[in-house]
């Protein structure tokens, strides 16, 4: 694998990380903590919405994030030909 290939792979990885970590931050710290009061004016399945994000929604989001990451990274590994053989 060439150095250019390596650095393009790393760049693609950092992009993916950035996007996923922004979602991670917004859902937990944003919706679950900072915006909890306004969100509690809405309700979801009987839960106040902000409370739901803090005690349920953020956990489901984390799960999705990790599986999306694993799936996308395995794709990148193949695309840049750096996967394990």
């Amino acid at each position: 694998m060439t150095p250019e290939n390596r650095s393009a792979y790393w760049k693609a990885n950092l992009w993916l990380l950035t996007i996923l970590l922004i979602i991670w931050f917004v859902v937990s710290y944003g919706l679950g903590i900072l915006l909890v009061e306004p969100l509690n004016n809405f309700s979801l399945g009987g839960y106040p919405l902000g409370f739901w994000f803090a005690q349920q929604g953020s956990i489901y989001t984390f799960l999705v994030l990790i599986f999306v990451y694993a799936w996308q990274m395995n794709r990148l590994d193949k695309k840049f030909d750096v996967d394990e053989v």
Partner: protein
């Protein structure tokens, strides 16, 4: 022996036989197997074992109790202890797997080409792990004291003995298979009572949905959460769904500290060395979180429903009354309380003192002025429910009894109650064993074999590891007699220590090629020092009571920095670590060429081998 005792001894005994049987069947024979189970553990199996390793007494026994009494504020535990897996999966696990070594200090020593860095990492790891074990000891003490109907202290001593026998029996390989069994026991033990209770209170079996549903005994006219909010505020407590822990900033820091700490705890990171491929390390973290989320999304329902049932047993709300507030509740006669109350009194974790000598149990928030005034008019002399901690009496029940008492309070069948005790012990033992293994490998592998006694034989290395384990149990047990908080709070301090030391060093080791040995060592030392000093000044030096130098009992007030509690201070420590490391690295020589190549190599999956030692 009554029926409940029969069930408890039966279920606990059967599960212990199962774990010990598996441990003997898969006994570790080489040092390699002792630390890292051989390759070929499937990501799903590894995820399940990681979940058992991860979910300790703090998650199983303690967390729902804290949710019960802190409501929304306890969301920091829910988000913190799951969100950390995102950091772990995205920032550390695949790279550490590619690096392919046995222990975390080994990575730090190699990446920062420095024995000093390795030794500092070992010290940080031991401090964090021992604090974590103290939390487990609290949980084990609570479980044994109830199960054997003895004092908390006696329960703790018995627990220390069991943990010792259990942890020295096998290494990682034995533990991996045992932990899969333990996961199954603990998740059944956690969810089955939750299903029953959710069905009773809401008519809906799935607790995650039930918590949002209508309150069935009230005819579904009010939601369960609405009912809970109403009951607790009328008794003078803070509203359940909105009460915060400290301040919004404190909740932010607390969550951050737990998340970063999750990704910095050695016994969890080690797990990702045991999967065959980098690809599997990524999925392993996801699978671990699937199994963890099963418990974590159930816990909010367990906490809320336990609070409602607990309150409802002691203070019965009158339906046909025009009274409001405290007067609308009728305190129950002590003599007619269900047996769980008196059973828990034997442990000292629940105490009733008849302050106004009327034989009734009044339970409300007597620090709320309005409620205290209502109480005085009713002839109450203060809330009468306490728990003992050390020599002091504190208000309300010990939070750590809630999960274990929950099925009894809800009057579930004896076998369910027995299962919960077995589950709590499984959670505490599996984590304690994983942590003790991390401590023993840090001492025997990193300190002795790696630095001070390079020629040590395999046999002596194993022996040193076992002695280190025994020492750690004694220290943690002694400190567990006067734990610095409820189990989950104590464990949160451990996470703060890991967050402020290990995580930044690992992350910068992978993502910042120019980070050098001086920067990493200075960062780790600065981070953990800041965090430790802050914790010690509020909680006592090594948590020994009476040694706090900024404690409320000394008349100095909590005096928290920006209102951030000691349990949450790891977030500040981590920021200090990053900053100091960055500045020192800028001022000193960059790492040598071969180290920068090593970092580049760690970043791509190709060429990963088995975990090796050197």
């Amino acid at each position: 022996m009554n029926a409940l005792d029969f069930w408890t001894y039966g279920v606990v005994g059967a599960t212990f036989l199962l774990y010990i049987g598996i441990a003997i069947w898969a006994r570790a024979s080489t040092t390699g197997e002792f630390y890292v189970a051989g390759k070929g553990i499937h990501p799903v199996a590894n995820g399940m074992a990681t979940a058992a390793d991860w979910m300790s007494a703090a998650s199983f026994i303690s967390m729902a109790g804290l949710i019960a009494f802190n409501g929304y504020g306890a969301s920091v535990f829910l988000m913190g202890w799951t969100g950390g897996y995102v950091l772990l999966a995205l920032l550390l696990a695949p790279y550490l797997r590619k690096f392919g070594k046995f222990t975390v200090p080994e990575f730090i020593g190699d990446r920062y080409y420095s024995q000093a860095a390795r030794i500092v990492a070992v010290i940080c790891l031991i401090l964090a792990s021992i604090t974590y074990v103290i939390g487990q000891m609290k949980g084990i003490g609570v479980a044994f004291s109830r199960f054997l109907e003895t004092s908390y202290e006696m329960g703790l001593y018995i627990g220390m003995g069991i943990v010792f026998i259990y942890a020295v029996l096998g290494g990682m390989k034995g533990i991996t298979y045992t932990q899969i069994a333990q996961y199954c026991v603990l998740i059944l033990a956690y969810t089955i009572p939750a299903l029953f209770i959710s069905l009773n209170l809401t008519g809906i079996v799935i607790p995650q949905i039930g918590l949002g549903a209508g309150y069935a005994p009230g005819g579904n006219e009010i939601s369960l959460l609405g009912k809970l909010d109403q009951v607790v505020t009328e008794l003078g407590f803070k509203e359940y769904t909105t009460q915060v822990m400290g301040s919004t900033l404190n909740m932010f820091a607390y969550t951050l500290s737990l998340m970063i700490g999750t990704a910095g705890l050695p016994h969890v990171i080690i797990r990702f060395f045991t999967v065959p491929k980098v690809k599997d390390a990524r999925y392993s973290a996801g699978w671990a979180l699937v199994f963890i989320a099963l418990l974590y999304t159930t816990a909010p329902a367990v906490g809320a429903m336990a609070r409602l049932n607990f309150t409802d047993t002691l203070m019965v709300q009158q339906t046909e009354t025009t009274e409001e507030g405290l007067a609308a509740f009728e305190p129950q006669p002590y003599d007619e309380l269900p047996p769980w109350f008196k059973n828990w009194e034997k442990t000292g974790l629940l105490v009733w003192q008849d302050l106004n000598d009327d034989g009734l149990v009044q339970y409300y928030n007597d620090t709320n002025e309005a409620t205290a005034a209502e109480a005085e008019a009713l002839g109450y002399a203060g809330s009468e429910v306490f728990h003992r901690s050390g020599d002091a009496l504190n208000a309300g029940p010990d939070r750590d009894i809630m999960v274990l008492a929950n099925p009894e309070i809800a009057q579930l069948p004896d076998w369910v109650i027995a299962l919960v005790v077995a589950g709590g012990l499984a959670a505490a033992l599996s984590t304690a064993a994983g942590l003790l293994l991390a401590i023993s490998s840090a001492i025997s592998h990193d300190l002795l074999k790696g630095v001070f006694a390079k020629g040590i034989s395999e046999k002596n290395e194993l022996m040193a590891g076992r002695i280190a384990m025994a020492g750690a149990i004694v220290v943690a047990g002694f400190l567990g007699l006067n734990p610095p908080g409820f189990a989950a709070g104590t464990v949160a301090i451990a996470f703060g220590l890991a967050a402020s030391s290990i995580f930044p060093a690992l992350m910068m080791g992978i993502f910042y090629k120019k980070m050098n040995n001086a920067g990493a060592v200075a960062g780790m030392l600065a981070g953990i020092t800041v965090t430790l000093l802050y914790v010690f000044q509020h909680k006592g030096i090594f948590f020994i009571p009476g040694t706090a130098f900024l404690a409320p009992e000394m008349g100095m007030g909590p005096d928290w920095f920006l209102g951030i509690s000691p349990n949450a201070f790891g977030a500040v420590g981590a920021i200090v670590n990053f900053l100091v490391a960055f500045i020192v690295a800028k001022l000193t020589a960059p790492p040598p060429e071969h180290i920068q190549h090593l970092v580049e190599d760690v970043r791509v999956p190709r060429g990963s081998g088995e975990a090796t030692s050197h």
